[in-house]
């Protein structure tokens, strides 16, 4: 994304918006991770607390999810830069 075409005052406001959204995006990643790992790992409702087996599964799931997101982010960044931005001269 290229916000160079906007003036400085606009860029300042956009930067603030990005910062605000980053927090939101992080919280969303976190909630997605929790829900996915819960769904994949917790299936025993004969106990009230998370079992050690479930906890181990959640740990691996959380690690994998974060590494997955990071790897997608790296590829995403590379591929985004290769794309010709719309409206730019070809």
């Amino acid at each position: 994304m290229d916000f160079q075409r906007y003036n400085q005052a606009e860029q300042a406001q956009i930067a603030q918006m990005i910062e605000h959204k980053q927090m939101k995006d992080f919280l969303r990643l976190y909630s997605n991770l929790v829900q996915r790992c819960f769904n994949d790992c917790v299936n025993d409702f004969t106990t009230k607390s998370v079992t050690s087996k479930e906890e181990a599964c959640v740990n691996k799931c959380a690690d994998k999810f974060l590494k997955h997101s990071e790897r997608v982010g790296a590829r995403f960044g590379e591929l985004s830069q290769q794309m010709t931005p719309p409206g730019s001269p070809q």
């Binding site: 605000h20 927090m23 939101k24 919280l27 976190y30 909630s31 991770l33 929790v34 829900q35 790992c37 819960f38 769904n39 790992c41 917790v42 299936n43 409702f45 106990t47 009230k48 607390s49 998370v50 479930e54 906890e55 959640v58 740990n59 959380a62 974060l66």
Partner: protein, 90 residues
Amino acid sequence: MSMFGGGFQAQQSVNPQNIAMAEQELDMVTDLFNRIVDSCYTKCISTEYQQNDLSQGESVCIDRCVAKFFDVNAKVGEKMQQMGGGQPPQ
């Protein structure tokens, strides 16, 4: 008498950042609740729909499911703080 609206609002200044923080906190709690409703419905409720009430088994399952979701949420939170060295939001 104040020229700018009711006396009450004029006495204290509203910090928009505080409002934004409160909104974020509220949205997070609502999101957590909705995810728990969703996951625990899938885990605990039989879709045969033979009765209008929750069965004894379903009720117990819901209680444990909510408790375990909180557990997983807390454990993943701790894990991410250790990894990121992040501070919990004040």
